[in-house]
């Protein structure tokens, strides 16, 4: 008899939400996490009294999370206190001037209108179009399985309105933004969101242009740090009997006759189970933890063809003053074309960017308790390729971080360099070491059109029986709500197929 009904590998959002939901189904669940905390990229660590978020810095499009907590018999906002962020973000130009986008659609139209009157009016058109898309797709696409063509047909049958948005799959993010806004400065302030899918504006799919609108449906920061979301799933899961082991690295998925039967840990311990749920990068899961010898040739070809998503560098800064910022999120990104050039010239060529393209998160603006009194936390995300040409991240990282902070001090956060009390840096290589994410990938696999829905590794494995996938590298992709949706989808499929 198997030791457990289900073993879940990894306690990221996808894994821990799925584990809690499976415990709710009355299954005996064991979660194995190689690090010492839950949440993976959506986690928080403490250093010298400062609470730093590892990666994710806000949550939006919260419907899938609300649904997951509802299925657990509770409410998201009852389990986690959400602090609304308004303005949504502040765009900081190189001369220090700023454009702040408020939560309200009217306020945003006014801000855009000041930059370009016609574009201010266009904002409403973009908002109307994507509001409709949100309504049509959120249930049909984000929280429904997309394992095969039958699932896709069911999606369309349930909600034929989604067909209207198919043209967004044949156009780029940049084209959509340019279609609505003619002013280059307006376009510039919306050039960053393409990287939320890990691609530059001209390569990201058009439907990603939903994000500049969806942020206006509410963006939130959980009081106590991003870890509060996976912690809530952990708390509920454990109250339902779910077991969780930290510092338990899985080295192998035990497979016999193309069926998953448990796992082997790094220390050699074998634990058996009726089902295995993976929350780790799908490419690594199939090619390394399962092994090519267990895969039919078509799966091997498919798996090898995926590219892992982009990587980044995080600078965790504790400072002893109130940074002169105006929003929870601030952006220091260049115009659309510059971001495309950065992708080809620097990112793809293994170069550390010369300019300070980044996202500055200021969580203590929302929750002052995350730092000692009078102090603040800044989590700064910079662009950075995993492989550097002729350089090593371990040798370069402090120099790069200090340069970044010096540059930001000149135009974006005056005097920051004189107020830094703590500086921790996580390079793409560190992300790989700490979270075992290949290439330091921040969204699992590249979130491209040919790697979406039925073309992304399936939630219910097509070649290994008893194996289910959650997390950024399965449908519906990366991001806090999407990965929780993946946990929900896997648990629903298990309920359906594994009585």
């Amino acid at each position: 008899m198997a030791d457990y009904d289900v073993i879940v590998i990894g306690a990221g959002n996808g894994g821990i939400s799925c584990a809690a939901l499976l415990a709710k189904q009355g299954r005996k669940v064991l979660v194995l996490e190689q690090s010492d905390r839950v949440g993976g990229c959506c986690s928080t660590f403490v250093k010298d009294g400062y609470h730093f978020d590892v990666g994710a810095s806000i949550v939006e499009v919260i419907y899938p999370i609300e649904l997951a907590f509802k299925m657990l018999g509770t409410e998201f906002q009852k389990e986690v206190e959400l602090i609304p962020c308004d303005p949504i973000y502040s765009y900081i130009f190189r001369d220090g001037s700023r454009v702040n986008y408020p939560l309200s659609l009217e306020g945003t139209a006014e801000v855009i209108g000041k930059l370009n009157e016609a574009d201010g009016k266009q904002w409403y058109k973009l908002a109307d179009y994507f509001a409709e898309m949100m309504k049509q797709t959120i249930e049909a696409f984000f929280t429904s399985p997309a394992n095969n063509m039958v699932d896709m047909l069911k999606m369309v049958a349930k909600n034929p309105g989604i067909l209207k948005f198919l043209p967004l799959f044949a156009t780029s993010y940049q084209d959509v933004i340019k279609k609505y806004f003619k002013d280059e400065v307006v376009q510039q302030t919306m050039s960053f969101q393409s990287f939320y899918c890990g691609l530059p504006p001209e390569l990201a799919p058009g439907f990603i242009a939903l994000i500049p609108y969806s942020e206006h449906e509410g963006i939130y920061y959980p009081r106590g740090g991003m870890i509060q979301i996976p912690e809530a799933f952990r708390r509920i899961g454990e109250s339902l009997g779910m077991e969780l082991r930290f510092n338990a690295k899985v080295d192998k998925v035990l497979v016999r006759n193309r069926r998953a039967e448990g796992v082997r840990l790094a220390d050699g311990t074998e634990i058996t189970s009726k089902l295995v749920v993976s929350n780790v990068n799908a490419k690594k899961l199939y090619l390394e933890y399962i092994g090519e010898e267990h895969l039919p040739w078509i799966n091997r070809v498919g798996m090898k063809s995926y590219e892992v998503s982009m990587s980044c560098m995080m600078m965790y800064v504790g400072c002893d003053y109130r940074p002169p910022l105006e929003a929870h999120h601030s952006l220091t990104i260049g115009p659309l074309q510059m971001m495309n050039d950065f992708w080809y010239n620097e990112y793809k060529n293994g170069q550390i960017p010369e300019d300070v393209y980044g996202l500055i998160c200021w969580p203590t603006e929302s929750d002052p308790a995350l730092a000692p009194e009078g102090h603040h936390v800044l989590n700064i995300m910079g662009m950075g390729p995993y492989r550097l040409q002729g350089q090593s991240w371990d040798e370069e990282k402090m120099r790069v971080a200090e340069k970044f902070i010096n540059e930001l001090s000149k135009f974006a956060i005056p005097d920051l360099k004189d107020h830094v009390t703590v500086l921790e840096v996580s390079t793409p290589v560190d992300f790989e070491r700490r979270l075992l994410s290949p290439g330091g990938a921040i969204y699992g696999l590249q979130m491209d059109i040919p790697a979406q829905a039925v073309f992304r590794p399936a939630s219910r494995s097509k070649c290994i029986k008893g194996l289910y996938l959650t997390g950024a590298s399965t449908h519906p992709g990366g991001g806090v709500p999407s990965t929780i949706a993946s946990g929900l989808i896997a648990s629903t499929l298990i309920e359906k197929y594994e009585k």
């Binding site: 199939y286 498919g302 063809s305």
Partner: protein, 62 residues
């Protein structure tokens, strides 16, 4: 029933397949002409997608 002369059906078939070929070539020429008018950025987007298309059948089974 009208009698079909020997070879007549074959001739029609040949014309049909020639027509299909012409339509296909015209379609390809139209696509190529349209592609040539696109700006460099759109071409890069299309190439980026097309590069992955051959893997999509295998990905479907992944």
């Amino acid at each position: 029933m009208a009698a079909v002369k020997k070879g007549e059906g074959k001739g029609k078939g040949r014309i049909g397949s020639k027509l299909k070929m012409v339509v296909l070539l015209a379609l390809m020429a139209a696509i190529a002409a349209r592609y040539a008018t696109l700006d460099a950025s759109k071409k890069r987007f299309i190439k980026h997608i097309l590069k992955q298309v051959p893997y999509m059948p295998a990905r479907y089974f992944a």
